[in-house]
């Protein structure tokens, strides 16, 4: 039993109170601690990835209680991948926050940031359904604080909506967990998988109800239509870097669907059949359409980026829905890409917003300062989000298209993905030309150009690093997809996970 597995939860859990209690008056110290903590998380995640690759899935028994009774954390390839992705995105965001001075505009940013990471990491690692709920709550309560960072009436109001919606979602989660416990008598995910497979005939209806409730909860987190209403206002009104960090939060929903859909409710399971796939597929197509049409129709840059995030979740769920290894590998590649791309787009939008004062897409605006560099960064992020060559969005969409080709209605899915990509390109192009090109055509009063041009080298470096990672993901697509293929094969063989948690006898 390796103690490395609990470190991604313990490190931020220790660091955050230290920042609040010991460094509250010293922003520089807070920044150093936050960056060091995030770097540490990255190193731990890299080690866990290596462990998962070489040693296979490992369980960590808290308090050394035997598996179905105590609480377990499980590190397998999928968990380690998500941890690494979260750490990388967090590092980009924290550097951007320091560079752009967002952490000056309110208190306790870095502490909340570390608590958020603790919740996200815990959700990826836990092998216990009830602890998944607990970690969801931790990441949510930190996200409430981050969302209203720097205050403002509109932001607080959107924050209340976000909290109310997610509290209702949490209640639903508890109803689902209660039903699962009533049916199976366990909440350990590996044990659940075993019990669900040998469920007596009469209990199947209740198990199905619990399954549907659970998928609805994950759909709320993953912003799947018709549960996406909380996302646009929240992401558009949250501080830019916080919205970028939230790109990983929707992926927590996707991760949970993938985990439960392969482990507890595998396709063809006697109790639940293909119910998860049947629910996800139409929702995914609608999400894709709603998101990309929203990109075209948005009247502000922030909303446009938020709808782009919804659209990318649609593509992601579309690739998850078939629940077969090749599609899952494509989904994981697209998941990595879309997290980084959505994060970069939110950061680019924040750079624009900081220089224009607001993010409305109206006419008659002065050109922004440093428009050339920011325009180039926005262009690169938009290319990535839309899934155009040469960046990894194109590779990701290609993999997804290839994976859903054999599905029933495969051609309709192709139509949905390709059509919405076109709409997204139009929307992103329209917004880019309105912000970066049209102002130069309009006659400007003298001196309008001299809007404040804050020197923020670190912010540009952070965004550039994010885009560089997308380029790296494109160049290394071969090895990455190979590793992801093995990951998908692993999660589609639940016996491996069950064996790691319950021991060979239990599986």
């Amino acid at each position: 039993m390796s103690h490395w597995i609990i470190l991604p939860v313990v490190l931020p859990a220790m660091l955050a109170p230290l920042i609040v209690l010991g460094m509250r008056h010293d922003l520089v110290l807070q920044r150093v601690a936050s960056v060091a903590g995030t770097l540490g998380l990255g190193a731990i995640a890299a080690h866990l990835m290596w462990r998962a690759t070489v040693l296979g899935p490992e369980a960590y028994l808290l308090g050394n209680w035997p598996a179905p009774f105590g609480i377990v954390l499980v590190n397998d390839r999928l968990s380690a991948l998500m941890l690494a992705l979260a750490a990388v995105l967090a590092l980009i965001v924290v550097l951007y926050v320091i560079g752009s001075g967002w952490d000056r505009r309110g208190r306790h940013f870095h502490a909340l940031f570390q608590f958020q990471l603790m919740g996200v990491n815990g959700a990826f690692l836990t092998g216990d359904a009830f602890n998944l709920f607990v970690f969801f709550e931790i990441l949510l309560i930190a996200s409430y604080g981050l969302m209203i960072h720097a205050g403002g009436g509109a932001r607080l109001k959107a924050g209340v909506q976000y909290v109310a919606y997610n509290l209702a979602g949490s209640t639903l989660f508890l109803f689902a967990l209660g039903t699962i416990y009533a049916v199976t008598g366990t909440l350990n995910m590996a044990d659940l998988a075993v019990r669900m497979a040998e469920l007596p005939e009469g209990e199947a209806a209740l198990a199905r109800v619990a399954c549907v409730l659970l998928i609805i909860v994950f759909a709320v987190k993953g912003a799947l239509v018709p549960f996406q209403f909380w996302l646009p206002a929240t992401y558009a009104l949250a501080p830019g870097p916080v919205a970028a960090l939230f790109a990983i939060m929707t992926k927590v929903g996707a991760y949970a669907v993938l985990r439960f859909g392969t482990l507890v409710y595998p396709p063809g399971s006697p109790a639940t059949g293909d119910i998860v796939a049947q629910m996800l597929l139409p929702g995914a197509v609608l999400t894709l359409i709603a998101g990309m049409v929203g990109v075209l129709g948005a009247r502000s840059l922030g909303r446009m980026a938020a709808y782009a995030a919804i659209g990318s979740m649609g593509t992601l769920f579309l690739a998850i829905a078939p629940f077969e290894p090749r599609a899952s590998a494509a989904a994981l590649y697209y998941l990595i890409h879309s997290t980084l791309a959505a994060g970069c787009l939110f950061l680019a939008v924040d750079l624009v917003t900081a220089r224009r004062g607001d993010d409305a897409l109206g006419p008659d605006r002065a050109p922004i300062a440093q428009g050339g560099v920011i325009g180039a960064l926005y262009f690169a992020a938009a290319v990535a989000v839309a899934g155009m060559p040469p960046l990894s969005g194109f590779v990701g969409k290609l993999l997804v298209l290839d994976a859903v080709r054999a599905e029933p209605y495969g051609m309709w899915l192709w139509g949905a993905i390709l059509g919405t990509s076109l709409i997204a390109i139009m929307g992103l192009g329209r917004a880019g030309s309105a912000v970066f090109w049209k102002p130069h055509g309009a006659a400007q009063p003298a001196g309008a150009h001299a809007a404040h041009a804050p020197a923020q080298p670190l912010a540009f470096v952070a965004l550039g690093a994010g885009l560089a990672l997308i380029v790296a993901l494109t160049l290394l697509a071969g090895p990455v997809t190979g590793w992801l293929g093995a990951t998908a094969a692993e999660i589609h063989t639940p016996a491996i996970y069950i064996g790691a948690v319950l021991g060979p006898a239990g599986g």
Partner: protein, 128 residues
Amino acid sequence: MELLVASAIGVMTASGIYLILRLRAFPVILGLSMLTYAVNTFLFVTGRLVVNRPPILSPEAAGYTDPLPQALVLTAIVISFGMTAVTVMMALGAFLETGDDRIEMTGEDEGEDEGTAGDGARAPEDAR
């Protein structure tokens, strides 16, 4: 007893949902509280309803009641308590900033500072 508990959960859930749909901060918070009461009771009975039995295995006792849901309920209560406190603070902040306790977003662009003046002017009658 099953009927009593089940209908209590149902009534609390229904009134919680009704209150959430009122779209004002105070009823929404009350509604969320009702929902958490309902789900806490629901969690409590997921170990089946058993009366007058110890929550541990014991050779003397005729049976036992499942202790795990009680632990789950305790966790759920603590979390929902904390969440309710956060919601109250945020709703209060939003009310003080905008002078309005409506949950839904109003105004053309949903959210830029526009409309603050108008909302402020409406505040006295809305606050009642």
